[in-house]
Amino acid sequence: MAEHELELRLRVVGRELDAHAPTFDAGLLRAAPRRRRTRLVVAMACALALVGVAASPAALSALRHLFDVDEVTELGPLAPGVAAPFAGRSIPVDMLQASAPFRVRTISALGTPEDARVRDDITGGMVTLVYGGGLQLTQWRTSDVSARIAVVPVQGSAEDVTIGDLPALWIGGTSRGTFTLIGADGAVHRESFDVGNGVLLWKDAGMTFLLQGAGSQADALRLASQVDH
């Protein structure tokens, strides 16, 4: 098939699709009023993790490149069937590495975690290290976990930042998120999670990280830069 023939076929199909194109239903706007500017909602979709909101088109493009970012302004109420978060099995810290499905990265500058939790109920596994003061570092292997995350910054905002050379997304203030994960049973599971003190999301060396509870953006970035490689 010649190239021009292919182009023609595509254009004709595009035209055929017009017969199915719906008219926009403006009634949908009444069902969901516009949000205030300060209540940005970010839906983060990743084949493997994340996420983002951007303050400018350029920043959005940059994030999209790495995180496949989606930006929306309204998440809406949690749908029925969203479960309370499951923290995972508590594992003795000295047994963590043997129990985890990948090499766990720690923040050695903070010393030994108070607790370590392993999720083996989801495909690919997930590990959360619990440090003092509500600080938690959750991690998973990017290529193994299919996750969709939506985060609603209730107060504050979201912005793209960098950890050294790595792009990352910071969501300050209080936020509510929804994890959509593929369980080890092959089914889709949805869980909510609440964050009261900021979230930082980034990818590094095949891993995706979610740091919760660092407080300030500066502290989050500092801690992220201290995650072992």
């Binding site: 182009e7 199909v13 055929e16 199915h20 706007l29 490149h65 302004t73 889709v188």
Partner: protein, 195 residues
């Protein structure tokens, strides 16, 4: 044929009459003004959504949701910027969301055909046209998402390369490279189907 289609599509899209006014009114919460603002873009948005999702109800959902989300984001739309690529980008994102949320990647080819089989039967020409839509959407569904998007923006939405490149967040040159590769892959897929 191609030039005729280009003209047909360019006509409503190039018409900015009233857009500024509709935009201003929509930002103040006027739903009717917003409906008027997006009406010239409905077909293109649906075409692109169909290329990504496989068409049918998924494409419609992506278009409708994308338009609603765009409405809610109007306060972030920069005055003076081009509305069409901004709107389409949101629809594209929504189409990806629909696709991924349902995790239909592996079933997309089958779905593309299924979505269009629900159309009522018609004269022979209509049947042939529908089969062609199924064939092409099915072949598109077997490509990667970036490939589908590149082809959709060029041939379904008929965007200029610079606009399409901006929409996908890459350089024009990189977009053209992607497009050329996508075309070859689609060509191979269709040749397999066509025998």
């Amino acid at each position: 044929m191609a030039s005729d289609l280009s003209f047909e599509l360019a006509l409503p899209l190039s018409s900015r009459e009233g857009e500024t006014e509709f935009l201003a009114r929509a930002k103040r919460g006027d739903h009717e003004a917003y409906a008027n603002l997006v009406r010239p873009h409905e077909r293109l948005a649906y075409r692109v959504a169909a290329a990504i999702t496989g068409g049918g109800a998924d494409a419609e959902e992506a278009m409708q949701n994308g338009f609603v989300k765009a409405y809610r984001s109007l306060h972030r739309f920069r005055v003076g910027a081009a509305f069409r690529p901004w709107l389409l980008r949101i629809v594209v994102n929504e189409a990806h969301n629909v696709l991924r949320a349902e995790r239909r990647h592996t079933r997309l080819g089958a779905r593309a055909a299924e979505q269009h089989r629900v159309a009522p039967a018609g004269p022979d020409e209509a049947v042939i046209a529908r089969e062609e839509v199924e064939t092409v959407l099915g072949a598109l569904a077997r490509l990667s998402e970036p490939d589908r998007l590149a082809l959709a923006l060029r041939y379904f939405a008929e965007l200029p390369d610079t606009e399409a490149a901006g929409l996908v967040g890459t350089s024009t040159e990189a977009y053209r490279v992607r497009l050329a590769r996508a075309r070859k892959r689609l060509q191979a897929e269709l040749e397999d189907v066509d025998g």
